[in-house]
Symmetry: C2
Subunit: 222 residues, 2 copies
């Protein structure tokens, strides 16, 4: 497998975590987003949306969209699983992942920030306020959801979660961890989020998450 | 089951389609987003993100995030399936769904448009340009992806798709159709998207999609 990747891309980071958790070997192919390498015809012509990450399978298919890639990896390499076995628990984990992937990250990626500055003539302070607003609001919702899930688990007689859901990495952790990295890089206030940061810290104590982090990537920059 | 819903919400519409395709009965509970009913404590206190849709299961769990809800319905009520059987095809369908749910819709929902106007003091024309930009760009990517998938299917000896993938509704159709309704409401240019609009028209010829559309909802307004 080949992973088309940019060290600082949150969506790329999600897939790197999944690959590391599953212990799958892959070739890392850097695609420099800031230099626009994702728009080169040799890359952009191979998929509809020309984003990173993309995963080239050993059969020659090129997969896009990080959550779809991770579910594909989970279906083709089931152990260790990144989703729980039971339908309700799977829905809980997927919803947490989507709270990041559909509510926070789309508003804060590079092309959106560029549009704010270039097309809407938004100044640096307003751009940062936008970033902080959606990230903070999204993480507060994530924290409330973790609190509700803690009650639900207790009512079901399940032990408290160590990571986002239970004590083994899931799709939700694959999404949360890169978002926290990103929030810290932009100095978003992270106080008052004990469950969320507890899950983050527990993830980052695991080798798979350390090995997947941006600073460990071949194309990492200072 | 109870579906907390707003007739004009794209994400709500996705779940209504899934329920209709599967022939599942549900109680429709209107939550008026423009009146802020989703922020009332009785609703907002029950889930982290206080958005619509939310699905209350017969076991009393309240599920959020439309794609997670649809996958839950697909796992608990497998026939007819909303995802293909094979892993690669599933990845293709999920990626199409996410091209709408992660790349287009998050930039254009009500709370984002409100922020543009209220906080960034963007005028009506610039707000509309923002909406058109992300929708058009996202649908063009969707069209390119459908063209690539048509080639992939041909190489595999599969018949051309009638809907987004194959000839039966999938998660991708659940996402595409509401996005096209939304695009039309905001007068987004839809020329040059033959595969995308072909899939849309084929969906809308099916009773399940007609029954799920906004104008058929109990809370529909003119």
């Amino acid at each position: 497998m080949q992973l088309y990747n940019y060290f600082r891309s949150s969506a790329s980071f999600r897939v790197r975590i999944a690959l590391q958790v599953k212990g799958l070997a892959y070739d890392y192919v850097p695609v420099h987003l800031v230099k626009g390498e994702h728009q080169a015809p040799g890359y952009a012509g191979r998929m509809g949306d020309a984003l990173v990450p993309a995963l080239a399978t050993d059969d020659g298919a090129l997969l896009s969209q990080s959550l779809a890639i991770i579910e594909y990896l989970d279906e083709t390499h089931p152990a260790p699983p990144l989703l729980p076995a039971q339908a309700l628990a799977r829905a809980r984990v997927r919803a947490l992942a989507q709270m990041v992937a559909c509510e926070i990250h789309p508003l804060n990626n590079l092309r959106v920030l560029k549009y704010l500055v270039r097309d809407l003539k938004v100044d640096e302070d307003a751009k940062n306020a936008w970033y902080h607003h959606w990230t903070r609001k999204g993480l507060e919702a994530f924290e409330r959801q973790l609190a509700l899930l803690a009650q639900e688990r207790a009512a079901q007689g399940l032990p408290p979660s160590v990571l986002c859901w239970g004590d083994a990495p899931t799709l939700a952790d694959c999404c949360l961890v890169p978002q926290i990295f990103n929030a810290r890089r932009f100095n978003v206030r992270l106080d008052g989020l004990p469950l969320t940061l507890g899950a983050f810290d527990a993830c980052m104590a695991l080798p798979a998450f350390q090995q997947a982090q941006p600073s460990a990537c071949p194309d990492a920059e200072a």
